[in-house]
Every structure is written in C-alpha cells, then in structure tokens.
C-alpha cells in the first residue's frame, strides 16, 4: 500500500505549551484516515501542522519531519529549503465552520484556488469550477446563484462550497477538521457520501468527534490522547479489537 504522508517525530507548541508529542504516522494514499480523540488532544493542531498553518501565529513552533510523496513534490515539507506556500497547493483544507469568502461570488469562491495557483486560462477555469461544483453535488442547487455572495448559501451548501474550493485546484491531500460538526444530519450525510466518492481522487484526513462517522466513512483511524498518538489501525480493527486500553475506553464511551 502506498503512503502519501509520513509524519516523523512531530512535536508542536503553542508558546511554551507543548501539545503534540512525538507523533509518528503513515497516511495511506487514496484512503480516508480519521483522527479521533477527546477534545483538546491535539487533532486540530496535528492537521494544521500538515499544511503548516500552525506556525503562522507568532510563538507557535513545530519540530519534526513530515514527508510528502506527491506527484510533483516528494520530500520533507519541513525542510528549511521548502516554502510552505509552495506545498500548500498540493493540499486542500476544509474548516470546522463553513468559511466561504463572503466578498466573492459562489463561482469565484471555487475559482480562487485556481487563480491563486497561477491558472490563467478562463475557459479551463470555467470547466474546472463547474466540474468541482458537480463533484460536491452543489451545481444543481446553486446554478442560478453562481453570482451571489458565497455567504448567501445555507450552512450545508456553504460547507460543500468550501469542499469544492478545496478540491478545485486538484490537490492530492484533503485535510478536514470536523467538517460536519456545524451541520444538520441531512447535510452531514450528504457530505459523508461525498467523502466516499472523493477518495477515488484524493487522500482524505478527517478529524471527527463522531465515532459513528469515523466508523462509517474511514478506512483507517488514528486515536489520539493528550497530544500523543495512541493507536493507528484499519478502522474495523481499531473499533472491533482495539489494542490499547485507552482506545477501548474511548470507543466504548467509558471516558470521564
């Protein structure tokens, strides 16, 4: 099985407070990997270390290596010779709260990733935008409001718009931080179906609080606790026969 991302000895700090401890994990290509764990265990931080958002805030610090094996880039993304703005184009991120750009139209929200990454061909962009909107099953719902503000859509539509925005420029890795936690059950199930579709083209890492969701959509699951990776295994295995006591406690809900 191919690996797209190898995280090695990753440590992360907010100021002087360390929140990630020696994380080591290999993320398999074209699969969905779920990250679960109690609140505050560092799931979001781990995700934000992968596309180097974490270090953007003054005082934050990261140590360790993350090897990315993409089509155009292979190597340690924390290499001092790597510009983070260059590697982010191979990754897309979907945030917990839907955050389409309110100052851009629905259409431009999807096109912006392409423009930012140097696409100039208007025709090609148009094609890709419609394609992306189709992929997230949004096109039919918004085809009459492509020129309206991105924030004029409903919450679930906004989140699918954000997914379209993240996949339009064809990244290889999708990072999703609790993408459904702000949505109702119907919108949630739509997005879950979508994820299963998307894994044919992209590798997905999804942080979730919802264990059923992890069980439903993911192929692999990582369990984190207090900034450490406790267990990483195929989802079925992890839920049926957890090796670690903490994992078992967590998935059976015996956690305090």
């Amino acid at each position: 099985m191919d690996t797209i991302l190898s995280i090695r000895n990753l440590n992360a700090w907010y100021g002087t407070k360390q929140v990630l401890f020696n994380i080591n994990i290999d993320i398999p290509k074209h699969h969905i990997t779920a990250i679960i764990g109690p609140s505050g265990c560092g799931k979001t931080t781990l995700l934000r270390c992968i596309n180097r958002l974490h270090e953007l805030y003054e005082g934050n610090r990261v140590e360790g290596e993350i090897y990315f094996y993409g089509k155009k880039f292979k190597g340690n993304i924390y290499d001092p010779n790597v510009d983070p703005t260059d590697i982010r184009r191979y990754m897309g991120m979907v945030f917990q709260k839907p955050n389409p750009f309110p100052m851009l139209s629905v259409y431009d929200n999807v096109a912006i990733g392409l423009k930012v990454n140097g696409f100039r061909d208007k025709k090609k962009i148009h094609e890709i935008v419609l394609n992306a909107l189709n992929k997230v099953y949004l096109f039919d719902e918004v085809k009459d409001s492509l020129n309206k503000s991105g924030s004029s859509l409903s919450g679930g539509q906004q989140q699918r718009l954000c997914i379209a925005r993240a996949i339009a420029y064809n990244p290889e890795l999708l990072l999703m931080d609790e993408p459904t936690s702000a949505l109702d059950p119907i919108a949630t199930s739509k997005i879950e179906q979508l994820l299963v579709e998307l894994k044919k083209e992209f590798t997905i890492i999804i942080v979730t609080h919802n264990m059923q969701q992890a069980a439903r959509v993911s192929d692999y699951t990582a369990f984190m606790y207090l900034g450490k990776l406790i267990e990483f295994a195929p989802t079925e295995e992890l839920f049926k026969t957890p090796k670690h006591e903490l994992t078992e406690k967590y998935i059976t809900g015996k956690f305090g």
Binding site: E58, M91, K97, F101, P102, M103, G113, V116, A166, Y169
Partner: protein, 303 residues
C-alpha cells in the same frame, strides 16, 4: 432619585443644545448666503468670473480647483495608504509596530499651518526645480502638463494634501483590516495564496471600508484651508495645467477674508462656506454610513 433625574435632564439639555448648534450652523450659513443666492442664483456656481471690484462673483474655477487638488491628493495617498496599512498590520514585527504606527499618526498631529509653512518655503521651490521642470520636459506634450511653472499651484497643493490625508485613510484601513476574521485569512493561505494574494483578498473583503476611507479622505482634502492657501498661488481663472495656480474653496476664504472689499464680497465668501458645508455633510454622512455598514458586515460574517 432626584439627583439622577436632574442630571439626566442636564445631559439631555446639552445633547439637544448640541444638535441645535449643528442645525443652526447649516441654517445660519444658508441665511448668510441669501444675498448671493438672490443676486446670482445658480450662476454663482457655474460662472467663471470672480471680480470683487465690480462685485461679480462666480466660482466655477474655484470649485474645479477644489476637485482637482483633492483628486490629486487621493491618487497619491490611497495606494500609499493601502500598502502602509498592510505593512503596519501584517508585516512589521510586534515590537516595532506601536512605534512605526505612531510615526504615521504623528503626520496627523502636525498643524496644517506648519504644513503650509513648510510647503511654501521648502517644498514648493524644491518641487519646482527638481520635480516639476524635469516632469514637464518629459510629459510636456500632454496638454495639462504645459504652461509656466512657479512651484505654487494645484499639483503642489495636491501633494501637500496627500501627505495630510494619508494618516486618516491609513488608520481607517488598518482598523478594518484588523477586523478581518482569522478564518478568512487561513482559508486563503490554505489554498496556497502567497502574501500579495492574501493582501488582495483582504482588501476585497474590506472594500466598502476602503471606499468609505477614500470618501472621508476626499472630504478632508476638500475642506483643508491653511496649507492649501499658502501654496495654491491664488488665481481666479480656470487653471490651464496642473502646475498652474488656482484656488480651492477653503483657500479663497482664507486668502480674501482679511482683505474683503465689500459686504457682498464677505457674503460671497460665506456662500462658499455654505457650499463647503453641504459637500462636507454629504461626504461625511455617506462615508460614515459605508464604514459603519462594513463593520456590521464584518461582524455579521464573523458570527
């Protein structure tokens, strides 16, 4: 409680008194312009002859001068303000930020007569010798860049105004930039946007505030009297180039007030004040509404 009642009446009295002053300001300027309105009517605005000796007053060239100088000021100040605002908010390390910001704010603290004195005795001669004359050599084939150069005129006034409105525009842009929620910036960055692309997106996000800042900057430039009066050259006819002397509405008030020759001359200056009042009112109200709306919109999208 009695004291509370009494105190609230005092506050309300002063508040109403304040509103009364604002209305009185408009009304008294209007009344002061009655003579001019009844004698010249609309011609006051569209006529181009200003001749106190014959008591003929038309201010078309003066209005034009006001617009030209203010526009020059905007053209120079707005782009600079955008860059400076981004520089101070997003590029400068934390430790230097307060110092560098207060340097920009210091520009706003310098009195306009001091700007005027500097522009009159230092800047204008410098610009004439080292900027305008070389500029005319290159651009002299364009109509608005021809004619004699004294250093005192519309372009110099516009440049001084640009410096004076720069801190205003910068601070409004900075305030609204600071209000952009971090998840918007993060979304842009996660797409692979590099600094200037993030900047463009942020500026789009606060575009209404930028428009408000521009209008407010325009209002400031339009109403500035002393500094302009000292470098504008003082000419009542239509200017023929941007190097030419001219007048703006506030500057003609300043320059002619002390030597007005007739009552009607005073009235004409008061009428100019009334027009200034109307334009300022329109600008400020529009700008405030736009800025307030943007702030509301930013808050709305943050929730």
């Amino acid at each position: 409680m009695k004291a509370d009642k009494f105190f609230s009446y005092i506050l309300i009295f002063f508040s109403l008194f304040f509103i009364l002053i604002v209305f009185l300001l408009g009304y008294e300027l209007y009344r002061g312009s009655q003579n001019i309105i009844s004698i010249f009517g609309f011609n006051f605005i569209i006529n181009s002859i200003w001749d106190p000796v014959r008591d003929i007053y038309g201010i078309a060239p003066i209005i034009l001068g006001s617009f030209i100088t203010s526009l020059i000021a905007l053209v120079l100040a707005v782009p600079l303000s955008l860059f400076i605002a981004y520089f101070l908010n997003e590029l400068v390390p934390h430790i230097f930020k307060p110092y560098l910001s207060s340097l920009i704010e210091l520009l706003a603290a310098i009195p306009s007569v001091v700007y005027g004195l500097w522009a009159l005795l230092v800047l204008a001669p410098f610009l004439r010798d080292y900027v305008f004359i070389p500029m005319q050599k290159i651009l002299g084939f364009i109509p608005f860049f021809q004619g004699p150069i004294t250093g005192y005129g519309l372009l110099t006034a516009g440049i001084v105004l640009a410096v004076m409105i720069l801190p205003t525009i910068t601070s409004i842009i900075r305030e609204s930039l600071a209000l952009v929620p971090s998840h918007i910036k993060e979304a842009a960055i996660s797409l692979g946007a590099i600094q200037y692309q993030v900047a463009i997106l942020l500026f789009k996000y606060i575009k209404f505030a930028i428009v408000g800042a521009i209008i407010l900057g325009f209002a400031r430039a339009f109403g500035e009297a002393m500094a302009v009066a000292m470098v504008i050259g003082g000419k009542h006819e239509f200017p023929i180039s941007i190097f030419d002397a001219g007048y703006t509405m506030p500057s003609i008030i300043v320059n002619e007030f002390t030597e007005a020759v007739s009552n009607l001359h005073y009235d004409a200056l008061v009428a100019i004040g009334f027009i200034l009042f109307l334009i300022a009112l329109a600008n400020i109200v529009v700008a405030r509404l736009i800025i307030r709306k943007t702030m509301g919109y930013i808050k709305y999208t943050t929730v």
